[in-house]
Symmetry: C2
Subunit: 169 residues, 2 copies
């Protein structure tokens, strides 16, 4: 299924898979929202992804080795999991978020996550990748007692929501 | 010219501008190849960019505030310069290169640059951004006596070429 890359450049190789807005948004929702099923990815999409676009991007991500699809048993829905290559997209995601925060306006509710990732630096990105390996690949985290980054993100999000509520009161 | 973003998410904001393979390749060639004119960008393209695609991507990058276009005097060619927002795409580029190196095959000649950027870490990326600020914005580098990252990249590339020559001899 894979066509020959347009050049042997590593950046080109990456953008041939990842240089598409919907592809990154689908990966974002799987990573940060832990949405693993088609319907969750449609229903939760902030950008209102269309079902045909979602289907094509999931298919490409599976073919490109960034996701695996657990074929559903009869009556169950297929579940998608990140591969190691998919998990390693997280540093690119963090860099995109940092750029978006600096150079584009956004909504406070949705900025919190990118701010935390930016301020947490490579250590937080590494810890998040460990958490994704646990969730998607069943590999235990190196320090099982360390707080989960997803909990930090959720706490920061809730705090931002409380502040927003107070401001508008 | 700008349309409303699909959501207030910082990652979405970034991919609405940068989530296109040709956009990233044009920025790469401006950043690493110091190609500042339309014809250089066409002639030097490893991926064989088409002139209509290049024209549309340059226009969008100017509208999006990542490039400025110096309008040519009669008989001269227009020159493109990175803005601060354009220069700050470099960490995303480095992250894409690191991913491509790890998860896709490539050509040694073209991998060298991404390898150096990966191994140099955030310090090298910062130094390269300073060099781009000097070249594109006329802002002197903080340490004018420090070696230029572009020279390190060129030296690494030449060494890799010599090794490749030796291997095939």
């Amino acid at each position: 299924m894979e066509v020959a890359p347009r050049s042997g450049c590593a950046i080109n190789a990456a953008v041939e898979v990842l240089g598409d807005p919907w592809t990154m948004l689908v990966l974002r929702d799987i990573m940060f929202g832990n949405r693993r099923h088609f319907r969750e990815l449609v229903a939760g999409s902030e950008e209102g992804i269309a079902t045909n676009i979602l289907a094509s991007r999931l298919k490409r991500l599976v073919e490109g080795g960034l996701l695996t699809r657990d074929d559903a048993r009869r009556g169950q829905r297929a579940m998608y999991s990140l591969t190691e290559a998919g998990i390693q997209v997280l540093p690119i995601m963090a860099a995109l978020g940092t750029w978006g925060l600096a150079h584009r306006d956004g909504e406070q509710r949705l900025r919190v996550r990118a701010e935390l990732l930016r301020d947490g630096g490579p250590e937080l990105v590494d810890a998040m990748m460990d958490e994704l390996r646990e969730l998607h690949l069943g590999i235990p985290r190196p320090d099982a007692n360390a707080p989960r980054p997803s909990e930090q993100l959720a706490a920061a999000y809730e705090a931002a929501m409380r502040d927003a509520g107070r401001d508008s009161a």
